[in-house]
Symmetry: C2
């Protein structure tokens, strides 16, 4: 790393938590909105904007967005200005997918809590032996 904002792959690994393999994989898969520059010796030179992008990607990924969807978004960005409504639609779709997932998890959580409560009271009462042994 230097003061000019140019970052090596190692810097980006440290900044994003992604591995070197993952970063190279992302590049091969066209998951960067811009081309990653190279040094004369062929090494990747990232910028802070790339790191910003990767951090956003991390959020998208952590919220269950598949790489294919990420790629679709990147493709829109790479296509340049003019398709913002499409990007917005994609984001909204993901937003509602995440909401749905949270709702599903909430529903599951309720069942699990019920199961936990059942085990708790039976274990406390010493009657646990009857669970799953009807």
């Amino acid at each position: 790393m230097d003061e000019s904002g140019e970052l090596s792959i190692g810097d980006v690994v440290a900044a994003t938590g992604l591995g070197v393999h993952a970063l190279r994989f992302f590049e091969r898969e066209g998951l960067f909105p811009r081309e990653i520059a190279r040094t004369a010796g062929g090494r990747r030179v990232y910028t802070r904007a790339d790191v910003e992008w990767l951090l956003l990607c991390n959020r998208f990924r952590a919220s269950g967005m598949p790489l294919a969807t990420l790629r679709a978004f990147v493709d829109l960005v790479r296509a340049g200005p003019g398709n913002e409504p499409e990007r917005l639609a994609l984001l909204r779709e993901h937003e509602s997918a995440v909401r749905a997932r949270i709702a599903e998890l909430d529903a599951c959580l309720e069942i699990i809590q019920h199961k936990v409560a059942t085990y708790e009271s039976h274990v406390q009462a010493g009657t646990a032996a009857s669970l799953w042994n009807p």
Copy 2:
């Protein structure tokens, strides 16, 4: 299906949403707390308790529990009465994993919403062209 509560694999597919392949796979992997009986001709005979179990499994799975964890739980059940505290611990652990996942998704959702809001206002203002084109 008959009135005795004995179910064919097809019945179980209909009742649980799992596929025949998945059911056989589950059995091979030891994911049933009891052995599945067979007819004289070698066909699987399930009971309503098996279906109950599978529906619970579906919830566990939908909440992100890996098969390995499910297997650990099944192993405890198969080991018979006496280890209920361990089962409870496993369930509690999963419960907190689910809570953590929900919290993570909530955090991501916030970022996504922010992104959506940004795009919304820019698209409305007709200034979208500047997004991702600094």
